[in-house]
């Protein structure tokens, strides 16, 4: 089932085209990564998919045009985790996760049974049940990341958009977050994330989109998208490619320019 259907999405910021006519689909159960060097337009594309930036083209979520959805339906259809997300007030973990239920709450009513269940499920899924009553500012970086992830999971949206969900996490936490996202996709949602780690993308994601200067360079499975030619053309690096127990890894090894210099 197609959850997200984007056609010829273009975004211009301050007169400059940042995303140039990108089309792709995300099915239920899929985890898809947006890759590309800094400034390639990944975050802008993700924000446009979330309806947060004006765009040309069309975005359909579960068959309905994003621009035609009302505020509340849109907020229920997709959950968005911004880059570098933090909490401005030290709320307790439970209260923060509860914010994800906002699109579901009736005005002036306390959270209903379904809302409390969703919060509980999100807390359990991310393994932060025992932190529920701790204030956010007393948590470690990895715990914070899981809390903020639990907040987006609590929306229980069919489409989850996360901008660099593993940035500034240690390797253990990165694997933990990737497994959580994989798990959420497996439960029937479509998940689209911005990622910088090529190996995590290759191992955990069903399809990759490689961007450069706002245009789509490659789109498909990891072995095709992360080819030496593509990595050279976008990231300007050469990488080590390998496989361990049937899973691929890609290790950026040298800057392309220095490589060329050494050859001369």
């Amino acid at each position: 089932m197609i959850v997200l259907d984007g056609e010829q999405i273009s975004v211009a910021l301050a007169g400059r085209t940042v995303v140039n006519s990108i089309s792709f689909r995300a099915n239920a159960g899929q985890l898809i990564a947006l890759l590309g060097p800094n400034g390639a337009g990944k975050s802008t594309l993700l924000a446009a998919l979330a309806g947060l930036r004006p765009f040309h083209g069309s975005v359909r979520v579960q068959g309905r045009l994003l621009t035609r959805l009302n505020r509340r339906d849109k907020a229920r259809a997709l959950a968005y985790l911004p880059q570098g997300q933090t909490a401005h007030w030290p709320l307790t973990v439970r209260r923060l996760v509860e914010l994800g239920r906002l699109p579901h709450l009736a005005p002036w009513q306390p959270p209903a049974a379904a809302d409390r269940l969703a919060v509980e499920t999100a807390l359990q899924r991310t393994g932060i049940g025992e932190l529920a009553d701790r204030p956010f500012d007393t948590l470690s970086g990895g715990e914070r990341a899981r809390v903020l992830l639990a907040r987006v999971l609590a929306v229980e949206a069919p489409l989850l958009l996360a901008d660099e969900p593993v940035a500034s996490l240690d390797p253990y936490q990165q694997l933990q977050v990737m497994e959580l996202l994989r798990d959420y996709a497996n439960s029937g949602a479509a998940v689209v994330i911005v990622l910088h780690d090529l190996t995590l993308a290759a191992r955990f994601c069903d399809a990759l989109l490689l961007l450069r200067n706002g245009t789509l360079v490659a789109h498909g499975p990891a072995e095709m998208v992360l080819s030496p030619e593509h990595l050279a053309a976008t990231y300007r690096v050469t990488a080590l490619h390998g496989e361990h127990q049937g899973q691929p890894y890609v290790l950026p090894w040298r800057q392309q320019t220095r490589d060329r210099g050494a050859a001369e």
Binding site: H88, W89, T92
Partner: protein, 337 residues
């Protein structure tokens, strides 16, 4: 987990009820205590016995003063809590940001140009306009630059300008009578107010309160930042409009009748925040109640202090508030990256 949530709600209700009890106690004290009769029992007995002089004092002098103290304190506490939530800045407050001073300037201009004589509504209207312009300017600035300190500095600029222009009006005041009338808006006081002042300000304040109390959940969502809040269905423009409009109405009307009283909107929400788990929506109502209690207590203190000249309320709240502000400023500064 169900229990945790309902225990939470019970605690919140208990907090509000305790604040209401404190308010009732302070109001009663405000009615029964005063320079004329120092013994509250005698006052009560005199009132019940139908002592005409005492009844007149309590109803015509003390009642308006107590009522205005509650209304103004609640307006300031609530506006402070809402502004802090919107701007995600614990230092935001109508006094510090210059909203009160701008409302005072509006009031002084209405007096200076004689519009206040044309219609009774001119003075509060101009105070509202002053508050509206200042709040809207600061909110626009906060959209462009979200640093807490630049906002405070902009507030200092707004405040300085409003005070300077108010002083200019005083400087050029045609006669000493007008001068003494206008000085009030710089200092703030609840003295010599009548029920007509209450009637003039209360409708504006009530509309402002409704607007400010309606934004709770959206302020909660803003805890996650603007993009995340928008993705949760918050309309930022509509949210800002309500907080700005509500602040202008509440603070403008409050300033029109009492002059600018600072720091109440800073102290009240700050004291309450730890009690409600820092959740912006839960700071609003207790913040209003605590603001009212704070102002009622300050005014009661002023009336009972055996000073030769009665102290001005705005001066007292500033003396109490500045150490608070410095403390918060240092803490916020440390919390910045």
């Amino acid at each position: 987990m169900n229990d945790a949530a309902s225990a939470d709600r019970r605690r919140y209700r208990r907090l509000n009820l305790s604040l209401v009890a404190v308010l009732l106690g302070l109001s009663l004290a405000g009615l029964l205590l005063g320079p004329v009769s120092r013994n509250p029992w005698q006052t009560l007995i005199g009132l019940l016995g139908g002592d005409q002089r005492l009844v007149a004092i309590v109803l015509e002098i003390r009642l308006p003063r107590v009522l205005l103290g509650l209304l103004v304190g609640a307006s300031l506490g609530l506006s402070g809590a809402a502004l802090q939530g919107l701007l995600r800045n614990p230092l935001a407050e109508p006094g510090i940001l210059g909203v009160s001073a701008s409302a005072g300037l509006g009031a002084v201009l209405a007096l200076y140009f004689g519009w206040a004589q044309v219609t009774l509504w001119a003075l509060p209207s101009f105070a509202l306009l002053g508050a509206l312009l200042a709040t809207a300017f600061l909110a626009l600035l906060a959209i462009r630059d979200s640093s807490p300190l630049s906002l405070i500095l902009a507030g200092v600029a707004v405040s300085s300008l409003a005070v300077a222009l108010t002083s200019l009006a005083l400087n050029l005041a045609p006669n000493p009578l007008a001068l003494s009338e206008m000085v009030l808006w710089l200092l703030g006081s609840l003295r010599d107010r009548g029920l007509s002042d209450v009637a003039l300000a209360a409708p504006f304040m009530l509309i402002g309160w409704v607007l400010l109390l309606s934004v709770g959940r959206e302020l909660d969502a803003l805890t996650l930042g603007e993009d995340a809040a928008r993705s949760l269905g918050v309309r930022l423009g509509w949210l800002r409009a309500r907080v700005i409009g509500g602040t202008a109405l509440a603070v403008g009307a409050a300033t029109a009748v009492t002059g600018s009283v600072g720091f109440v909107g800073l102290i009240a929400p700050h004291l309450l925040r730890p009690w409600v788990g820092y959740q912006p929506s839960r700071v609003l109502l207790p913040g209003a109640l605590a603001g009212a209690a704070l102002l009622a207590a300050a005014d009661l203190g002023i009336r009972l202090l055996p000073t030769q000249q009665e102290l001005m309320l705005g001066v007292v709240t500033a003396l109490l508030g500045v150490p608070f502000f410095v403390h918060l400023l240092l803490r916020t500064r440390r919390a910045l990256p």
